[in-house]
Amino acid sequence: MSDKNYLPWWRLDNAAKIFPSTSSAHDSKVFRFFCELKEDVDPAALQAALDKTMEMFPIYRCVLRRGWFWYYLEESPLPALTRPDELPPCFPIYPSPQRSLLFRVLHYRRRISLEIYHVLSDGAGALDFLRVLVYEYLCIRHPEDELSVNRVPVLGISDWQKETDSFQKYYEKPARRLASSPPAYQIPGNRLPKNQLSILEGSIPVKELLACARARGVTITELLTAVLLCSIYEGMSVRSRKRPVVVTVPVNLRNYFPSFSSRNFFAIIHVSYDFSRSDASLEAVLAEVKREFQERLAVDKLKAHVDSLCALEHNLPIRIVPLPVKDLVLRAANRIAAQAATVSFSNVGKLTMPEGFEKYIRQFGVLTCAGCLQACSVSFGDDFVITFASPYRSRETERVFFQELSRLGLAVTLTTNMNEEDDENAVL
C-alpha cells in the first residue's frame, strides 16, 4: 500500500487553525508536560524510548507549512531527538528560522519534559504521547522487572483514530452565531524581561484536596477555580472591581464525545465572577462557580459552542481569503479574545500508568505559556500538581492562592524555576 512518492499531510483541526497566526515570542502556544522520576534520566535510553514512541504516533513526525489559504501539517523526515533542557521553558517552536518537528523531548536530572506546539495536540493528546514515552523508557531501564507485560497506555487505538480530527466528526451546522463577551479585568504589572516565564509548581496530596472539596460539595476544579478567583480579587484595586474576573477553562471534549484522537479536541468555557455585585467570601464564590460550571458544561451548550466555532472554518467566503489576510484577522481576533479573559485554569485531571510503574515515578506536571497568567494541573498517584506560569514579575496572585490553600489545611509543596541568582539578573 505504501507509495514512495505519496507524502502524507493533514489539515489543521478547528482549534489549531488559530495558533500559527497568533504565536509569538511572548505567547508561544507551547505547553510542557513533565514527568519526574525517582532516578536520574539516562539520555541514551530516553532516545531509544522516543524512537519506539514515534512509531506509535505517526502524526508527530510532521512539520507545519504555509499554504495559500490555510496552514497544514506535512510528514517530515526530520529525526526526533531528545536534548538537555537548556532553552527557557515553553520556548517558541514556530515560527523559527529552522523548520523543525512540532515538539521537543527534554531531560534534566530526574525530569523528562515534553514540550508541544498546540497546533499538533492538546493536553490530553500530549499526555498519551508522554505516557507511552515514559512507559517505553522505564521498560528499557528496568528490563528485570518485566514491566512490558503490562499494557502500553494507548494499545488498541489505531493510527487513524489517533490522527482523526474529531471537530469535523461531530460538527453540525449551528443555528446560533457566536456571542461576544464583555472585557474582563486584566492583572496589571510589569512583564519579566526577555519573555521569561516564572513557574511555580504546587504539589498537594490528592486525598486531602478531595476531602476539602467534598466537604464543600464541589469538585476539585470548582474549588481551585473559586480560590483562584478570590486570590485575583485580593490584588484588585477598588476602581477596577467594576470589571468581571474571568477564568477560561479548557474542557476536554473527549469526555463528552467519544474520541481517541491525539490531536486537539477541546473547548473553552468562561467562568466569570463580578465582585462589584456579589460577596467576595470563598463560600459565595464557590456557589456561583459551581452553578456556572454546571450550566456551561451541559453537553448541548458545549456542542453549540464548538459548532459555532467550526462554522467559521466551514464558511466559504472565509475559506477563500488568502492566508496573509487570515493571519492579520486572526491576530486581531486573538487580541479581542484575550481581553475577555483574566486568567486561565486547565485541570487535565487524573493520570494513570499501567501497574508496576508507579514506584519509579514521583510526579507528573503540566504548564503552558500564554500572554497572561496560566494555571494547569494534573494528578498522578497521591500528588495533585498545580503549576502557575506567569509572564509577570509580581507573584501576588500565586502567593494569595497558595497561602489560602495552606489556610484550608492543605499541605502544599512548592517548586519554582526562579532561583535567587535569576532574580538578581531580572532586576538588571
Binding site: 519526574e36 533542557d85 537548556e86 523559527s96 475559506r319 500565586e398 497561602q403 512548592l414 532561583n419 535567587e420
Partner: protein, 219 residues
C-alpha cells in the same frame, strides 16, 4: 525539604527565601528542578547591528560632504539608494536563512525589482531587462537545482520554489513579444532554458507538483 513558617508551605530546591512571601526558609536544601539558564547568545544580531551602524555612519558622512560641496552634484542620493538596495537584499536573505529555496526566490524578486528601479531612475537604458533579468533567472534556476540536490530535498520541499523560478523565466518572453527588449539574445536563451526546464519538471515530477498544489491550495 525547605519550609516557610509564614506561609505554611514546603519548598523544594535550593532557595534562600520563600518564593511567595520572601521570608527566610528553614530546613534542608535540595537540588533545583529547573536548570539555571545561560544567557542566550545572538551573534548574528550583533553583526547586523554593527553593520547597520556602519551604514548610518557612511550615509551621514556622504550626505554631510555632499551638502558642504553642493557643486559636485547630488551624488549622495546614489549612495543612499545603493545602501538601501543592499540592505533590502541582505534583509530578505537573513529573514529566509532557514529555508534556502525561499531565499533564492526572494532574492530573485528583490534583485530584479531593485535593478529595474535603478535602470528606471537612471534614464532607462534598458540594461535591467536586456541583460540582468534574463541572466539572473537561469542562475536562480540553477541555484535552486543545486540546493535541492545538495540538501537532498524531497519534491515537496523544492518543487514549488523551483517552479516559481522556472515560470518567472517566461517573463522575458512576454517582454520580447511586447517589444520592450533591445538586445534579444539573453532573453531568447533564458526563455529557451525555462521552457526546457518546465517540460522536465512536468514530465518527471508532474504528479508531485499536482500533489503539492493540492496541499498548498486546499480550502
Amino acid at each position: 525539604m525547605l519550609f516557610c513558617e509564614q506561609c505554611g508551605v514546603h519548598v523544594r530546591g535550593s532557595l534562600q527565601r520563600c518564593p511567595l512571601c520572601q521570608s527566610p526558609l528553614s530546613g534542608q536544601k535540595e537540588e533545583n528542578a529547573y536548570p539555571a539558564l545561560p544567557p542566550a547568545k545572538k551573534p548574528l544580531r550583533l553583526i547586523l547591528r554593527l553593520a547597520a551602524l556602519a551604514t548610518v555612519v557612511v550615509a551621514v558622512t556622504c550626505c554631510a560632504i555632499n551638502f558642504s560641496l553642493p557643486k559636485t552634484g547630488w551624488w549622495s542620493v546614489f549612495v543612499l539608494a545603493g545602501l538601501a538596495s543592499t540592505w533590502l537584499v541582505l534583509g530578505v536573505t537573513v529573514r529566509k536563512r532557514g529555508s534556502p529555496m525561499k531565499a533564492i526566490v526572494w532574492q530573485l524578486v528583490t534583485i530584479s525589482a531593485v535593478t529595474f528601479a535603478w535602470d528606471l531612475c537612471t534614464g532607462f537604458a534598458g540594461w535591467s531587462l536586456d541583460f540582468v533579468l534574463p541572466i539572473f533567472i537561469p542562475c536562480a534556476q540553477l541555484a535552486a537545482v543545486i540546493v535541492a540536490l545538495a540538501l537532498s530535498m524531497r519534491p515537496a520541499e523544492y518543487l514549488f520554489c523551483l517552479s516559481v523560478c522556472i515560470l518567472s523565466g517566461l517573463i522575458p518572453l512576454v517582454l520580447l513579444l511586447c517589444g520592450v527588449v533591445g538586445v534579444i539574445y539573453p532573453s531568447v536563451i533564458c526563455v529557451g532554458i525555462s521552457l526546457v526546464a518546465l517540460a522536465g519538471v512536468l514530465l518527471f515530477k508532474g504528479k508531485e507538483l499536482r500533489d503539492d498544489a493540492v496541499r498548498r491550495m486546499h480550502l
